[in-house]
């Protein structure tokens, strides 16, 4: 009794009396800080370790070359496990900067965390980068000044896939009468594009069917039997985690040709295809960041970081994989925004508000891509006050059984068609929240 009481009270005391330190900012350091809400454990760890590995390695590479105009980059991590509350806690903990270095932008790589920190980011004037994911209507920067769904929002993704299918068929007019099935994950993320595909179906005259797979997607027998009955020309896979390899395996089981399945941006990594083994051979997916190590910027990272033994990857074999390269691309865009903002605000560490200006005026053209050594890895990107997405182009890649092979050039989404829908949704949000949108014609 005595003993038990002591151990228990010691345990309780340790927890309750724990002092929780929060980083306090001190002035005077010449560093720019990146708060990283990373996830290295839990069901999505494979994505997190790759992405944040690539991101950190790129930052290391920049530092090895002397930082951004002499300003060194610094970062610290906080584990979110992809859980929303943990992400919020990390956000609150890290947003104030590190040892005096101000935070530049947050990059949670999680839809849930992005949504939960969206308003906080706006209030704190700290850019929230949701590369290739996030809230579609945040493309409209007049309502969402601090949110950047860079490169590709979910709507553009669908449009680009349809354009690719049209390309294969020989033109948009050939889409008429085709049958396209979208197999989507039973979550808000999965459903998000259903209205868009229906809209495109009406416009181009193809037949669209959407079929839901309940989370997590371990079992897809009935869905694929349904697909077999429909006999579609193409299947678009909006998968997530385990759902992807299971879809490929079940497709094989029901005799659907795997090279007519197109995976979306979250069905495009090695981890999505490899577990399906032979069943994945021929699987096509889109990407904004092709895998591979041949790009000059990756060679540079290899020299300065990987060969120096300081890579963040615990398994160096993953260098140049899809998630890693997404991290590198994300690193490039963040650093470019800082660099650009420095031209306006001076070559010192910047506040989130100043970095926001940098993001909003990003303009990465062919010449800049060449300088960065990222031709083919990164698309041309031009952002503005009203357009926080920029690119909207994807390349297609095919799984050859061991790795991805790029099979197309950049395919552009029909962004003009999608714009009114995005604006309408953004206006609705503004009204619900009582936000007065910025007048973008007055912004420089």
């Amino acid at each position: 009794m005595q003993q038990r009481f002591k151990t228990l009270s010691a345990l309780a005391a340790a927890v309750i009396s724990s002092t929780l330190t929060v980083n306090t900012a001190q002035a005077g350091s010449n560093e720019q800080y990146f708060p990283l809400q990373s996830y290295r454990i839990g069901p999505y760890a494979a994505g997190g370790t790759g992405f944040f590995g690539g991101f950190i390695d790129y930052l290391q590479n920049v530092n090895a070359k002397g930082g951004v105009n002499g300003v060194k980059l610094t970062w610290s991590e906080c584990e979110t496990e992809y859980i929303v509350e943990k992400g919020v806690e990390c956000y609150e903990r890290l947003k104030t900067g590190l040892n005096g270095a101000p935070a530049a932008a947050t990059n949670p790589l999680s839809v849930g965390i992005a949504y939960a920190t969206l308003e906080r980011s706006t209030n704190d004037k700290l850019p929230l980068i949701t590369i290739n994911h996030g809230r579609t209507d945040s493309t409209d920067g007049s309502v969402f000044p601090y949110v950047f769904p860079l490169q590709l929002n979910p709507y553009s993704e669908v449009s680009a896939i349809i354009n690719y299918i049209a390309q294969q068929a020989g033109g948009l007019d050939k889409l008429k009468g085709k049958k396209i099935v979208t197999l989507y994950h039973g979550s808000p993320y999965g459903q998000e594009t259903n209205p868009i595909i229906d809209l495109l179906a009406k416009k181009y005259g193809f037949e669209s069917t959407t079929i839901e797979v309940p989370h997590p997607g371990n079992e897809q027998q009935s869905q694929w039997l349904n697909i077999r009955r429909i006999q579609p020309d193409w299947v678009i896979l909006r998968g997530w985690g385990v759902m992807n390899p299971v879809a490929l395996k079940t497709a094989q089981k029901t005799g659907f040709p795997v090279d007519h399945i197109i995976g979306n941006i979250w069905s495009n990594s090695e981890e999505d295809a490899a577990p399906a083994g032979d069943a994945a051979k021929g699987f096509i997916s889109i990407t904004t960041h092709p895998s591979g190590t041949a790009f000059p910027v990756l060679q540079e990272i290899k020299k300065t970081v990987v060969d120096a033994g300081t890579t963040n990857l615990s398994d160096p074999k993953r260098f140049g994989t899809v998630y890693y390269n997404l991290g590198v691309v994300n690193g490039i865009l963040n650093v470019e925004a800082v660099r650009l903002a420095q031209e306006k605000f001076g070559k010192t560490p910047l506040t989130g508000e100043q970095v926001q200006w940098g993001f909003e005026h990003l303009n990465i053209d062919d010449a800049r891509l060449k300088d960065l050594g990222a031709e083919g890895l990164l698309q041309k990107l031009k952002l503005s006050c009203s357009d926080h997405e920029g690119g909207g182009a994807v390349r297609f890649q095919q799984w050859d059984g061991t790795q991805w092979k790029v099979i197309s050039d950049w395919v552009q989404a029909d962004r003009a068609l999608l714009r009114p829908i995005i604006e309408e949704s953004a206006q609705k949000y503004a009204k619900e929240k009582g936000i007065t949108p910025r007048d973008c014609s007055k912004e420089l």
Binding site: R40, I41, G42, P43, A45, A46, G186, I211, E212, V213, P214, H215, P216, N218, E219, Q221, S222, Q223, L225, N226, R228, R229, G241, V242, P245, V246, K249, Q252, K253, T254, G255, E271, A274, P275, A276, G277, A279
Partner: protein
């Protein structure tokens, strides 16, 4: 009509996969009265250990034996640190303890072997073939065969061997079993080891089907309605329950799903189980409980 049979057969075969997980539950429940929520975590742990050993170049049969040994060690640990201290507690307490246990095992599995997704090839081609106009999956038939032989092995084990008979004695009347000199801790260890073995088999089949990864532990949620329908104490019940759940959820997804919207597979088995419960609270093959004040 062909399509109907295709869905039905596909569902029945998928149901066998659920049964495989459910059998592990039944074993443990029969012998120790524990509703073991950690069975899913055990499936994950076994499959992850197996595939990690395999990737390190250990031959197949040796992997199997080594994983089995690990599962036995796990059973020993569970008996010593969870079951023995919690003896004579209410079933709900034991259930919650297995919830905690599932966290420990899942954490342990990922701590030891990492969180990567692994592919697993058992060397069975999964090309479809057609009999009488109906699509059949070779792999699913193979899985059904494994499940069948597992049931036969288990029933021989329970009916013919000394250990099996003492297990049944404990299940029938724990006090009487103790009185004739059967040692309860030993029986627990054996039962949990056998459940570990069943978990390993289920883990291999499920792993080959969906890849070895974290979500394997979620299949426990599919096994639950199977148990409710079949009854907690009967292996035959687990098989029949699995078949009912598999077939009905697929048919519901295809036919009901097109009416009220798809994706109903997650909750449909539970509603079905609830229906069964209201009519027959002990399940199809379960034992009726009599209550006294």
């Amino acid at each position: 009509m062909n399509f109907f049979f295709e869905v039905l057969v596909g569902g029945l075969l998928a149901g066998v996969m659920y049964s495989l997980v459910a059998i592990g539950f039944v074993l443990i429940y029969k012998a120790s009265g524990v509703f073991n929520f950690a069975q899913g975590a055990m499936v994950l742990f076994a499959a992850l250990t197996f595939v990690s050993l395999l990737e390190r170049g250990v031959p197949f049969w040796l992997c199997f034996l080594m994983t089995l040994a690990v599962m036995i060690v796990l059973a020993l640990g569970i008996e010593r640190w969870v079951l023995a201290p919690l003896a004579n507690r209410s079933p709900i307490t034991l259930f919650m303890a297995t919830l905690g246990l599932s966290y420990v095992i899942e954490g342990l599995a990922q701590l030891l072997w990492g969180a990567q997704v692994h592919g697993l090839e058992l060397g069975i081609k999964d090309e479809p073939f057609i009999i009488g106009g109906i699509f059949l999956s070779q792999f699913d038939l193979f899985a059904a065969g494994i499940a069948l032989s597992l049931v036969i092995i288990l029933s021989i084990f329970f009916n013919k061997t000394q250990i099996g008979l003492s297990l049944r004695a404990v299940a029938d009347d724990t006090l009487a079993a103790l009185a004739v000199g059967i040692r309860l801790p030993k029986v627990w260890v054996i039962v949990w080891s056998v459940a570990g073995f069943v978990g390993l088999v289920a883990g291999l089949l499920w792993g080959a089907r969906v890849g070895v990864q974290f979500s394997l532990s979620l299949i426990v949620l599919k096994a639950l309605p199977v148990l409710i329908i079949g009854g907690f104490t009967s292996i035959e019940g687990a098989i029949v329950g699995g078949l009912i759940v598999g077939a009905s959820e697929k048919l519901a997804e295809v036919y009901l799903g097109s009416v009220i919207g798809g994706g109903i597979e997650n909750w449909f088995p539970y509603v079905l189980a609830l229906g069964f419960l209201l009519i027959r609270p002990a399940g199809l093959f379960g034992e009726q409980a009599i209550e006294r004040v």
